[in-house]
């Protein structure tokens, strides 16, 4: 709990306790902890004087604000039309085979989660994936596997 409090403390000193500070708060927690737990949402609701359902609603609206535990590296493959046309399905298949998980799942060693996401604005260089905050455009299945392997070594 204390670490969430510390994060919230930091955010509220910077942005205040207005509702407009809710997003920065949620982002900050996800950045540190990878996802928003039950207790995190309760802490946020208390801080901003909102109901827990409201905070949960806001968090689930944004794909990047996870409410289930994720691996250390969260892979998000763009599923929107351009990337779809340029072969996102093959990328996903390659990743699933390499990591031995399906979309939405996390590896047993909690290292990788495989997710899809909406357009990231890299349509001209699709297919695209994100690993945490890093963008990898113009993927081929082989390239995708190599990228993952490089993270496996980390």
């Amino acid at each position: 709990m204390t670490d969430v409090q510390a994060i919230l403390e930091k955010v509220t000193t910077k942005y205040g306790k207005q509702r407009s500070a809710l997003m920065p708060a949620l982002q900050a927690i996800v950045k540190e902890k990878n996802y928003l737990s039950d207790e995190d949402i309760v802490a946020v609701a208390k801080t901003f004087d909102l109901s827990t359902a409201e905070v949960y609603g806001t968090a689930t609206f944004y794909t990047f604000l996870d409410t289930v535990p994720r691996g250390k590296y969260v892979i998000r493959v763009c599923k929107t039309i351009s990337c779809h046309m340029s072969g996102k399905d093959e990328i996903i298949e390659a990743l699933q085979n390499t990591l031995k998980i399906k979309v939405g799942e996390t590896t047993v060693d909690k290292k990788f989660s495989l997710l899809t996401a909406n357009c990231m604005g890299w349509c001209h260089k699709g297919p695209v994936m994100l690993v945490n905050d890093d963008v990898y455009p113009e993927l081929t299945p082989q390239k995708a596997i190599e990228i993952i392997q490089s993270y496996q070594q980390k």
């Binding site: 949402i41 909102l50 109901s51 827990t52 359902a53 949960y56 609206f61 409410t67």
Partner: protein, 596 residues
């Protein structure tokens, strides 16, 4: 709204309305009804369903009539081919994501979506049926409410109700796009979250996605069981609401017909919650005076302001949101639960019936009463004190099921014992009513004279203002109450939990000081309860309030302490208010619950 008038034409008819009026309201003025789904008079405008679209001559896009204000010279068509087609399309899309098996749906026959589908002659089969492909959840965890996502059109009326009217926000919009849904915190069951079971969201849901949990079949079973003695109590606000389900306009008093109908349904004894409302006044009035004495004479620490406890949605709200103020709640059970405890003790004894064969049913304008009856504290008689709680709507449905032509029924009086009541019991059904009833009695106990208001009507506590306050100066006390001489009794009344929240925050912060506060969870009080006929709006609630006060004035007795059956029960059974027996049967305690 400004005084500046805007001139426009709707369907070629000129009209002028104040600046800021929406197209929807301007059309209403000309008696053109524009269909709506997400719009509700009691709520802010969301503008998300688009079913209210109208054509503005010269504009390329259709406009949402509920959200767009009029402008000078505007020409609006509410029923052009373009408009009709667009609306039809929108309704068809909604239905394609909707489990529209109307014959199995509780809202069949009283559903805004169904009505529109009918009006627009939609062809549901033009679209793929997406509803069946989804993993919908139907949440039956609450004893009061069923939340069925497969019938939700995501109009968000419930979300706005719970936030704007009730200040609870147990429901929120989660996810987006085609995954969007109405969700509790982490999709926990309704029973486990801050929901107060008030049912205000049910009253405003245009579909069958939020409905009360019904116990009609259980009640039929009891009525058909020859070994059971089935007693029924009817809450004050049912008699002025039930008519709406059975063909009357809002504001019709159908007390006598309702009693006849209940007898025809087969209840062995048709009794009145108003009787225990009167009893509540005796207990709660005495409790208030006792607390005041402790504070003023004995200088003992005592929780003031005292707060009323008849509204179980309000109680659960306090338990979640202001557990620091639980001692301020009167320990009196609600009239429903007092009745339940007495039905299986006092009534059983007097009628010589084994309480285990008594089935106690109550007809309530309320969904939270279903939860209340199931609280573990509510078993003072050694049995569950109230077995089944039906809403006004459910009673209406039972009367229809029985094929009773309600409008043609003669009037009947309530049975006895526990059927006698006064006008003070009746006004429990309106916001401010408990306060008024309590003042009528407490003032007279203390001074020996009637409250100094014309015709006993304590108008300052009446009306629909969210929070109202009044001061009653106590003068000419009887000797034993001399410590109250000259005291200005300060009272406040709030209805709708969002108003209660403001008031409680002020009490918590110590920025206000009162002696006595009445809170009703529902806007308008029980007459606007979550179990009352749908639809609801301010006009309907005003009509119901007029009916309540008319009922009060029509009663020969209008003060709780004059109820002869109340005298009798104290003489024969309870002793006196706050006696040991009263404590066992008529009083309760509360428990703190999680706010988050």
């Amino acid at each position: 709204m400004s005084n500046y008038m805007v001139n426009l034409k709707i369907n070629n008819i000129p009209v002028s309305v104040p600046e800021g009026t929406t197209i929807l309201d301007a059309a209403k003025k000309l008696n053109f009804r524009i269909p709506t789904l997400c719009y509700h008079e009691d709520l802010s405008v969301a503008g998300n369903c688009r079913v209210c679209v109208v054509e503005q001559v010269g504009a390329r896009l259709l406009q949402a009539a509920c959200a767009v204000p009029v402008s000078e010279g505007m020409e609006i068509l509410t029923n052009s081919t373009k408009v009709r087609q667009a609306r039809k399309h929108i309704i068809e899309l909604l239905l394609s994501e909707h489990r529209a098996d109307c014959t199995e749906c509780y809202k069949n026959g009283n559903c805004e979506l169904q009505d529109l589908a009918h009006e627009y002659g939609v062809n549901q089969h033009l679209f793929i049926d997406l509803a069946r492909k989804r993993n919908y959840t139907i949440d039956r965890s609450s004893p009061s409410i069923i939340k069925d996502d497969s019938r939700c059109i995501r109009c968000q009326r419930c979300v706005r109700t719970c936030d704007e009217l009730q200040g609870v926000s147990a429901l929120a919009v989660a996810y987006k796009g085609d995954h969007q849904k109405i969700s509790t915190f982490f999709e926990h069951p309704m029973f486990e979250v801050v929901c107060t079971n008030c049912g205000q969201c049910i009253n405003r849901c245009p579909t069958g996605a939020l409905i009360e949990k019904t116990y009609i079949e259980e009640v039929w079973d009891a009525l058909n069981d020859p070994n059971k003695h089935v007693v029924v109590q009817t809450a004050p606000a049912v008699r002025i609401g039930l008519g709406e389900v059975l063909g009357y306009d809002p504001g019709e008093r159908v007390t006598g017909k309702m009693v006849t109908a209940l007898k025809l349904l087969g209840f062995d004894s048709v009794l009145d919650t108003d009787f225990t409302a009167d009893l509540t006044i005796m207990e709660e009035g005495t409790e208030l005076l006792t607390r005041l004495k402790k504070a003023l004479v004995d200088k003992e620490p005592v929780a003031l302001p005292m707060m009323t406890s008849c509204s179980p949605g309000w109680i659960k709200f306090q338990e979640h949101l202001f557990p620091n103020l639980l001692d301020n709640l009167s320990t009196c059970k609600s009239p429903q639960q007092m009745f339940g405890a007495l039905a299986k003790t006092y009534y059983a004894q007097k009628r010589g019936i084994d309480p285990k064969n008594i089935v106690s049913v109550s007809i309530m304008p309320c969904t939270a009463k279903k939860f209340e009856a199931n609280r573990p504290e509510m078993r003072a008689s050694g049995y569950q004190d109230v077995d089944y709680v039906l809403t006004t709507r459910e009673l209406g449905l039972m009367i229809k099921q029985a094929g009773i032509d309600f409008m043609k029924l003669p009037d009947s009086p309530y049975d006895s014992i526990m059927g006698e009541s006064t006008g003070a019991g009746v006004i429990f059904g309106a916001t401010g009513g408990v306060m008024e009833a309590a003042l009528r009695t407490a003032y007279e106990i203390v001074t020996g004279r009637e409250v100094p208001f014309r015709n006993l009507n304590i108008t300052p506590v009446r009306g629909f203002e969210g929070i109202r306050e009044a001061t009653v100066k106590i003068e000419g006390c009887l000797p034993e109450w001399s410590f109250l001489e000259g005291v200005e009794l300060k009272v406040a009344v709030a209805h709708g939990l969002a108003n209660a929240k403001k008031l409680m925050q002020a009490v918590s912060d110590g920025t206000v000081s009162y002696h006595f506060i009445e809170v009703m969870a529902c806007p308008g009080g029980c007459l606007g309860g979550g179990g009352q006929p749908i639809p609801t709006n301010l006009e309907i609630r005003s009509k119901r309030a007029e009916a309540i006060y008319a009922e009060d004035e029509s009663m020969p007795l209008r003060k709780s302490h004059e109820n002869p059956e109340v005298h009798m029960i104290y003489q024969e059974f309870l002793g006196k208010p706050l006696s040991h027996k009263s404590h066992d049967l008529l009083h309760t305690h509360y428990k703190a619950r999680k706010r988050y």
